[in-house]
């Protein structure tokens, strides 16, 4: 994962509340096989309405989204985070987030910044004309007008984001512990490996099977 120390730039001053993952990315986009390209489907129903904030040229390509309370509720689809990342969003600022969404966002390098509603209101004002800066080192959101708001961030998540550590990379760094467990386990549960495991590998498909079924 790319390290994230700051996110700086224009922000979509949206402010809508209770945005569920179905609004972020509608269900029919779940048949994709890629994390990429979901930006096209992001906020599809919102963007169907003329004059929406996402199609306003003033905010095109903004790395920050400002939303209302309870952002990312509903289904646990990780596609919501992928869609935001694909449209270039690196941080979401809102009064609160669903747990599953913030977990998924974090795993995909998106910072979720929780700040009280009155701060959100102020940032919405600023965002209409000026950029916003989120700094993970100091855990602050600042504006060109001397505003300075601190926000909470789980220390583990902060470290992962700032150092660009992905969870898989971190676990792989524990390889010795995992190998030790496996060695011990092999003695205790030698019957653990499935019988006939490996007999259904079909290497030939890789060469000529593309598009079958």
């Amino acid at each position: 994962m790319e390290p994230v120390r700051q996110v700086e730039g224009r922000a979509y001053p949206w402010g809508a509340e209770n945005i569920d993952t179905d609004i972020i990315i509608p269900a029919h986009w779940l048949k994709t096989i890629s994390r990429e390209g979901l930006g096209k489907g992001a906020f599809e129903t919102v963007r169907a309405k003329p004059g929406n904030v996402f199609d306003d040229p003033a905010y095109a390509g903004s790395p920050i989204l400002i939303a209302g309370d309870n952002f990312g509720c509903g289904s646990s689809r990780e596609h919501a985070a992928w869609a935001l990342a694909d449209m270039g969003i690196r941080a979401v600022i809102a009064p609160s987030f669903s747990d599953i969404f913030s977990g998924n966002a974090f795993k995909n390098g998106i910072v979720t910044v929780a700040l009280p509603q009155e701060v959100i209101d102020r940032l919405m004002e600023v965002a209409k004309t000026d950029p916003i800066r989120i700094d993970l080192e100091s855990m602050t959101v600042t504006t060109p007008f001397q505003d300075r708001f601190t926000f909470p961030l789980d220390p583990f998540r902060r470290q992962c984001l700032m150092e660009g550590l992905d969870e898989i990379g971190l676990t792989l760094a524990q390889d010795t512990a995992i190998s030790k467990f496996e060695g011990r386990d092999q003695n205790m549960r030698p019957w653990m490996i499935p019988e006939h495991a490996g007999e259904r590998r079909n290497e030939s498909i890789a060469v000529e099977g593309t598009g079958r079924t």
Binding site: T171, A177, P194, R200, T213
Partner: protein
């Protein structure tokens, strides 16, 4: 296993957890070893893409098994000459082809769409003996809880976690609370495992198990077959619990013995010796205990859009005003509107247009036998537009055909399909049209789950069969004679 040093009585969950801790962190979260990983086409493509992008291999491909199910149409998969028929929806075809390619590239065992063992991932795992007691098992699907019926700690995970397990064979997890759901007594005539689990969810609520792993205990659970236990554990997630567990016993061992991927010979004996140490110790403490008496359980079904919206078939559609909680009152009113029902209606007066017998909750051989017993010698009612029987796997299908069940269904007017998730979710061509009503043996009655605007009533296979032959929701006990 080494003799246990702890004196403290422990639950089944605590024993499995303890035996899988790779590393414990200061905040109590643990790196947990994952013994078994089931993979299907919908939640895996981006995980494999992530591995590829980072040049990471699958750590233990032999512990992973892949099978397509969600997107596969349940109509014929090969033509008369044995050639594969194409899948019309290009996106479904793309997801299925990606699974085939990814499993080949990463050396993972793959059950092909036309293999006789193909089926719904949660039917295939136990059936192949891939699921075993005392194991940790994950799958990118929330109904993974089903496998807990065999005494495995099994739960659904997201795509990033799928990738994490593929790469490391572990997951970072916080321990759950424990909840005992004890069902005493014995089941009345016409009452099945599905009725038991619907009654449990009706009692604890759709969020009642949140943060907990449920262990199902009591005489009723002990007397269920493994098939019935799978039905119960499958719906743990509908009660908010990430996982359900049933202690392994002689019934479990008899079910598993001789299954293709289960241990054999002396390995089997070693495994059984270990499994026998797993059941919760006498005096083990659960964080919460819930008790039900089976004599109170009549055939159950749902009226609304949450699996907790349960009533007995002898009951009525509730009045939203009868709920104390304003949020529940509002949800009930919304459900009645969506479901096209009026408060106070008798459940048995509700006419239906569709019947779906299938899904990972109720598509095993016992489910089909129970449905066939009701259907035998009867016809699907005229008003029914579509009545589907979708076996959970190719092996279930063959077994049913060997017993002549397929002929009973086909002669009555049912469609006899190929295995897959089918009408459980609106992802493949099997859907309930908007505004139409379905008696369904699946596990979710959410708005739009079986298709946009579709109205779902969850019930048991015997009750679904009864609805099919009468054209309305019906009490199966009035249709079939008592044997005793």
């Amino acid at each position: 296993m080494a003799p246990r040093m702890t004196e403290q009585p422990r639950t089944l969950y605590e024993k499995i957890w303890a035996d899988h801790v790779v590393e414990r962190r200061d905040d109590g979260t643990c790196l947990i070893y994952i013994d078994r990983h089931l993979v299907h086409e919908v939640t895996s493509p981006q995980a494999f893409e992530g591995l590829r992008a980072n040049g990471r291999p699958v750590r233990r491909p032999e512990l992973t098994l892949a099978v397509p199910d969600h997107n596969l149409p349940t109509t014929a998969r090969v033509d008369a000459s044995g050639a594969r028929l194409p899948i019309e929806d290009p996106q479904s075809a793309g997801q299925l082809a990606a699974l085939e390619r990814n499993t080949a590239e990463f050396g993972i065992d793959y059950i092909d769409a036309v293999a006789p063992e193909q089926g719904i991932v949660h039917v295939v795992g136990p059936e192949q003996g891939f699921t075993l007691p005392g194991m940790t098992l994950v799958c990118g699907d929330s109904h993974t809880a089903a496998h807990g019926a065999l005494g495995a700690l099994a739960f659904g995970i997201g795509t990033s976690e799928v990738e994490h397990v593929l790469a490391t064979q572990t997951l970072l997890l916080a321990p759950s609370k424990t909840m005992e759901v004890r069902v005493d007594g014995s089941l009345g005539f016409g009452v099945s495992a599905k009725d038991v689990v619907l009654a449990i969810i009706g009692k604890i609520g759709a969020g009642g198990g949140t943060g907990h792993v449920i262990e199902y205990t009591g005489e009723v659970i002990r007397n269920l077959s493994v098939e019935g236990r799978l039905t119960v554990s499958n719906m743990s997630i509908e009660g908010g619990a990430r996982a359900g567990l049933i202690a392994p016993d002689a019934v479990t061992y008899a079910y598993l013995k001789g299954r293709p991927m289960a241990p054999s010979g002396s390995a089997w004996d070693h495994a059984v010796a270990y499994w026998k140490t797993l059941p919760s110790d006498a005096g083990a403490q659960y964080d919460r205990v819930v008790r039900l008496d089976a004599t109170d359980i009549a055939p159950q079904l749902t009226w609304g859009n949450s699996p907790e919206d349960v009533v007995p078939i002898t009951g009525h559609v509730p009045d939203p005003d009868s709920f104390d909680d304003p949020a529940k009152r509002e949800a009930a009113a919304r459900s009645l509107d969506y479901m096209g029902l009026t408060a106070g209606m008798r459940m048995q007066d509700i006419a239906i247009e569709h019947v779906f017998i299938g899904s990972c909750t109720n598509s095993r051989i016992e489910d089909l036998r129970a449905a066939a017993e009701v259907v035998q010698g009867r016809k699907v009612a005229d008003r029914i537009r579509q009545a589907l029987i979708v076996p959970g796997s190719g092996l279930v299908k063959r077994q049913a055909e060997a017993e002549g069940l397929d002929r009973i269904f086909i002669e009555a007017g049912f469609e006899w399909r190929e295995p897959g998730c089918s009408m459980c979710l609106a992802m493949n061509p099997d859907k309930v049209p908007s505004g139409e009503r379905c008696a369904s043996t699946s596990n979710r009655n959410f708005v739009g789950r079986q298709g946009p605007g579709a109205r779902t009533h969850l019930l048991s296979p015997a009750m679904a069969a009864a609805a099919a032959v009468t054209g309305r929701l019906s009490d199966v006990r009035e249709l079939v004679g008592r044997n005793e």
